[in-house]
Symmetry: C2
Subunit: 142 residues, 2 copies
DNA sequence: AAAACAGATTATAATAGTTCTAGACTATTG
DNA sequence: CAATAGTCTAGAACTATTATAATCTGTTTT
């Protein structure tokens, strides 16, 4: 956290992606603010606001390259919009239906058990849990 | 299952939707073949193939009305395409990444435990589990 | 360090899925 | 059977995303 530029550079090197101006800037926007869930247009807006000249097409390209390199995870919850999650460790999500926001649930706080083997063959690559939350008095201890 | 038309009619009545030609036909296509996962365009194609004149706009309207009435459930897994699930009981899904197909997992065969309360308030409306399956020798007992 | 090359970036066009619109149609009601 | 409230339709519009083809930039070679 003391040498952010170096971190982004290492990240790209490890992913075997050329450290271009745009990729470095996007990497910094993505990974220097802790865990985030961003949509492509959102990130594009942030980049422009940060005086980084980058096209939307490049933002998409870069996000997909990062996903391919295991630096990001794509989260699909809403039809018509993908979110990219900077947390690639095993975890799940709360989805707030009214605001459209996501929030991580640590992987070890939820347990999914008794998943049967896929009936049509193949192997399990990942188990995604989405907890849909609706606005309502939380009504905790009933 | 002996009087399909009557079933579709009852369904629409219960949902307080006028039993129009189009809605009846779509209801029959959806609910007379057991549990299914259909996309809008798919259903539209089936309707046309079955000589039911219906526009794509009406298919979308109807699907959403059915979701609103609790007859269908919308499942979002792929960016850019929604599936509508005729099984509205508590259950989860296998998603076959290569074919894009969905398959139900009975709700009682999976257990999700220790879900923490939503940190930002609100109440849990539903917990969706998607088991992503990739094509590969299942390689069971390792 | 210049030249050459591979790869990246860009603006723009194209695409896919979905939603909107305004007018025509139809099931219900009196 | 006329009125009306709700439904259907073709087509346009919209949103997010992907493709294209030309230009540019980082790296490698000389």
């Amino acid at each position: 956290m003391t040498r952010p530029f170096a971190n982004a550079l290492e990240l790209l090197r490890a992913a075997r992606l050329r450290p271009t101006r745009q990729r470095l800037a996007l990497a910094r926007l993505l990974f220097e603010k802790g865990d985030r869930h961003v949509a492509a247009e959102e990130l594009h807006g942030e980049a422009l606001a940060a005086q980084v000249p980058v096209s939307l097409a490049t933002v998409y390209n870069t996000l997909h390259q990062f996903v391919g390199a295991g630096l990001l995870r794509e989260v699909v919850i809403n039809p018509g919009r993908s979110y990219f999650d900077t947390n690639v460790s095993d975890h799940h999500h709360f989805f707030y239906e009214d605001s459209g926001k996501l929030r991580d649930i640590p992987g070890d706080s939820i347990a999914v058990t008794n998943v049967p083997p896929p009936p049509d063959g193949g192997s399990i690559r990942r188990v995604d849990v989405v907890v849909r939350v609706e606005k309502a008095a939380s009504k905790a201890r009933s």
